[in-house]
Each structure stands twice: as C-alpha cells, then as structure tokens.
Symmetry: C2
Subunit: 343 residues, 2 copies
C-alpha cells in the first residue's frame, strides 16, 4: 500500500487558475485532512491572498527548495511548469499529482482515473509523479470502462461537445463577455480563440498533426489504450468546442467483443462508481452540461442498443461531466485520497 501520511502538508501549483481554485474549494468541501496548504502560482500572482481550508494563504512563486516539507503537491499549471517542478517535488519527498499532459504517456509514472485503474496506486511504494488524464478521457472512461469490463470494447467512436473551461478561466470569461457584447450590439472580443464562440461551434483548438488528428483526439486514443492496458482498442475521436462554460459532453458509440444487452448495460452503469444515470426517455431528460456543472458524477444517458451493428454488439451513450471538477481537480484529489487509504 502506498504511503501518504494521514495529515499531509499540501501544495497547490497553479492555484489561481480555474482548476487550482476548484482544487482549493474541493480540499475544503471534502475535508481533506491537510495539515497545511501552500499555494503557488506564476510570479505575477505572487503575493495575492487566497482562501484555503478556511484560512487566508499568500500565493508564493516557485523556487528551489519550495517543496521541502510538502507531502503532496497538486500541479494544475502548464506542462512546462510540471516538467520542471514535479520532479523537484518528488525529490523533496512529496507525491506529485499532475494534471498537465507532461507525464501522461511516460511509462515511468502511472496515469490514473481512480474509478478505472486506482489499483495502480496501491502498488506504489514511494512518492512519485501520478498523472491525471486529459479531461475528455476521464469523462469518457468513467462511463465506458464498466461496459468494457462487461463486454470488451473493441472500438469506440467519440464526438465531443467541449466547454470553454478546458481552455482556462479566461476562455470562460470571454464566452460570457461575448454574450454581453451580443446583448449590447457591440463587436465580439476574440482574444482567446480568435473567433466568435457565442452561437458557434468549432474544431478543438489544439494542433492538428499530419494525420489530420488534433492533439485532443490523439490523447483520447493514446490515454484510453494506456489506462486500459490494451493497445488493441480502437478509438476514433472528433473533438469540438461548443459554447458551454464548464462541462464537457460526449456522444459515444461502442462496438463490443462480446454481446451486451441494453438492459444489462443499464444495470452495469447504474452500479458503477462516479456515474449518475440521467436517462428518462418519456420526459426527454438526458445528460446536459449545465446539470453536470459543479457536481462530482459524470452523467450518463441515451443508453440504447445500436441498430447499425449486429445484435448486442453495439451501444450508444451520451455523457456530460464537469471538466474542471471530475475532468481535473476532483480526479487529482481522489488520487491523493486513495494514496491516503481513504479513496
């Protein structure tokens, strides 16, 4: 069993960002047994005062030796910051729970969704980096893994409906700003995405590779294979931004290795951790991002056999999950809770 002392000294790196703020709020809400909390951010935020576990704490800049005495450090800044500082946190004796993409595909470090492969944490003996998957991967796999365990997913076709929050607090603010500008008849501010976002949809703003996949899509493919420890699973993803503030939705079509009835799929999903079924056909109530926002569970619905595949071999679902919470901060805290033996 892993060893994180039961009253850990906590550090939050990137504390002033959307995910950092959510981390601080969740540490308090979940009564995380922190002995102390230190908050770090970029030099321009240093000196700012934040609330953490009911106390006022002053934002510090990262500096050599800054993790001395820290037991667990949550990283929610850029991949560059994580690459430089997460190894230093570990060298100081801390666990580093990293939300960035820096170490996700590094075989030296586990990539963990506690509901899916939390067992990988139990095998760890000494402080190390633990990577948090990309938000779209987390939200998809919390719902798809129970079905995968039951029937073996051979192929998954995913189209996403991604919120502003994935691009940070400034992107959320700009989307809200555009709504105010629409109401005022003013021109749109387009500093973040360089385009009108309100009343629009656009391909995810990550780099597109020579194969036509963007980085967000590639993460869904690569991380799913790594987390499931199954390089044979086929994933086809199309990642799209929609004008929603902070919860991602995903339309997921599955092909199974073994037949799975719609009824059994519904039972499996109802019993799975981290999920809430929202699947009322008569009332036309299914997962919606505004209902997932600010909540822990991933909502799953539109559970239906796929008539375009042989009987029992295909299923479609639709999920919504809070990108800032389960897609990032909550997943990180759940990792630390499992390291504490509380998860």
């Amino acid at each position: 069993m892993a060893s994180l002392r039961n009253d850990p000294a906590v550090a939050v790196v990137g504390a002033t960002g959307a995910v950092g703020e959510e981390l601080l709020s969740l540490l308090e809400q979940r009564r995380f047994p922190a002995r102390s909390v230190r908050v770090f951010a970029s030099p321009r935020s240093a000196g700012k005062v934040l609330r953490a576990m009911g106390r006022s704490v002053t934002v510090e800049p990262l500096a050599p030796g800054c993790f001395d005495g820290t037991d667990v450090a949550f990283f929610s800044a850029s991949a560059g910051v994580s690459r430089e500082w997460a190894p230093q946190a570990v060298a100081s004796g801390a666990w580093a729970v990293d939300k960035s993409s820096a170490f996700r595909m590094d075989p030296r470090f586990p990539l963990v969704i506690p509901e899916v492969n939390g067992d990988e944490l139990d095998a760890l003996r000494a402080p190390t980096i633990v990577a948090v998957p990309n938000c779209s991967t987390i939200i998809a796999l919390v719902a798809v893994t129970p079905l995968h365990r039951e029937a073996g997913v051979a192929r998954m076709v995913v189209s996403t409906y991604q919120a502003a929050s994935g691009a940070g607090a400034a992107a959320m603010a700009e989307l809200e700003q555009q709504a105010r500008e629409f109401a005022a008849g003013a021109p749109y501010t387009t500093a973040i995405f360089g385009r009108q976002y309100l009343f629009n949809v656009f391909s995810h703003n990550s780099t597109v590779g020579p194969d036509g996949q963007n980085d967000e899509e590639r993460k869904l493919v690569d991380e799913t294979r790594r987390i499931w420890r199954d390089p044979s699973v086929m994933v086809s993803a199309t990642c799209v931004r929609v004008p929603v503030l902070r919860a991602h939705s995903e339309s997921i079509n599955l092909t199974f290795r073994r037949p799975l009835s719609e009824e059994r799929a519904r039972q499996v999903l109802a019993a799975a951790p981290g999920l809430q079924l929202v699947d009322d056909r008569a009332a036309n109530r299914f997962p919606e991002p505004i209902e997932a926002a600010g909540r822990d569970p991933v909502l799953v619905g539109r559970i239906r056999a796929d008539g375009s595949q042989p009987d029992g071999m295909g299923l479609s679902i639709f999920v919504s999950g809070d990108q800032v919470r389960k897609g990032a901060a909550l997943n990180g805290i759940q990792i630390a809770e499992r390291l504490l033996g509380r998860g």
Copy 2:
C-alpha cells in the same frame, strides 16, 4: 422530362415562418422566373403584408380552391397542413414541394436532394408531391453521397450539433433572448424548450421511441436508405441541440465497402456539387456554423483517414450547413428549378 411551365405561378404556404421567409428571399435572389407569387399562412397571419419578388403581397388563409391557377406550391408549414393541403394543390394541377415530414417515407412520392437523386425528378410526368428530406439528412448526404458513390458506404456514425432554427424562428429568438437575459442578470425565458439553451447542449427535442432513438435520428436512418435506394446501409445517429442560431454541424464517421484514400476522398469532395471544402489544418480552419449561415454550400472539412478502421476503409469528416437554406428552403427551390429544366 417533367413539365413545370417556364413562368410558373408560385404559392408559398407557411410564408411567415423562418423557412417561408427564406423561400421568398431566395426566389428573388435566384431570379426564379415566377409569373406571380401568392403567400399563405395560418388565419392569424392573414392580411399581413410581405415582400415577394420585389412586390408587396398580402398573406391569405388556406381555403378550398386556393391553389387554382398555381403551378408550384412550396409547403413549409406543419406536417398536418401538408397532409391536408398538398394533395389539394396537386389536384388543382400544381406541383407541391413539401418541406414537412408528411410524405417523406411515402413510396408514392419522391424524396429528393437535387445533388444526390435529382434524376428522380426527371422521370416525373405530371404534377405530384415532391418531399424535401429532413435538414440533418440533407446536410449529411450532400457531403457523404460523393464518397458513397466512390467507395460504397456500409456504415455511418453521425453525431449532430443542431441549431435553434430547426425548431423555428421563435426558438432562434428565445436563444438570443437568453443571451440578453444573461447579460442583464435576469431569469431565462424557457417557453420553447423548457430549459436553459444558452451555454447548454441537450438531446434533440423530438419524441424518443421504445428503441431509444428519437425521431430526428430515425429520419437520418430511414431517409438515407430511401434516398440512396439502399436499405442495407447502416446508420447510427445521435442528434443534439447546441446553442447556435441557424446552421447545423455534423461529425460523421464512415465505413466503406471498398478502400478509399484520404487524398482521393478530398478530390471527390472538392469536385462535388453543393459543397465547399474548409479544411486548413495548419490554420485550424474547419467548418463552423456561423460561416455556413446565410450561404448555399454545405461546408466540409476535418477530412481524415480513420485509424480505428482497416487501412482505407474508414474516414471521418465534419460538415456545417445552413439549416434554413440548404436544409430546407434552398433544397425546395432547387427541386422546382430542376422541374423547370434549370436545375
């Protein structure tokens, strides 16, 4: 060859709706050679004055004999209105181009996207009803049919990003109203969909059947098979509303019967009618609904081989098309133009 006289007397039924207005505007823009235009709507709109072909015309209520002397009647009202009145238009000697769902699956009448199966019009000898497919079907098939002709589509997995306009002008107005209410900090008006639409996404508001498919999804399946005259093609659809005003987008994953390279697919799409390629990977420019709005072509991009299928056997694309225009009014006018021998 079909016979619509070359200076037809036109009637537009449902002239005050979003599609009716677009029909009147397109008749003028496209210099449709109408000898005259009469406009019909519900009794509460009767007496209202509209602009049609540069002239003022007064809205009339539907009444027995109202189509006497009409050569072509466009129906863009409810299915109930079409069921009652389109046969009367034909009995009066008019062609009835029907945008509603009333006759789409009726084998007595053709269901036509001119770019796809316009040849079905050429075989007609006498005035009849011609059905316009559902908007999502039109927008998908303008892009997918050229690939189907080249490589045979065996299966299509579609997730839609549908605009407010599909639910009419009042739904568009309510979405705009919600943006103003957000800016004012006022509660949202939710008369149309019964929920917050701004900053949200929700499953299409059509009835969900016992198999879990909603009517919009069923139309995509049934109409694709009918238009392609291929009951063996498999279609899996998930239809979703996004807070966009008037253009639908669709993420489409294809499985072919014969291999098709990405390069050849791009050539085929570039040469196909009714399409415009927007596929700039370096600039991250792909189809967006705000760019499709108010324009004739369906935009197609994100053209990429699907690595989740055997080499050459799968492809993904993303399309955006104006729901009011090509998804409804324009397709209807193109049908009439083809009947005139001008299409």
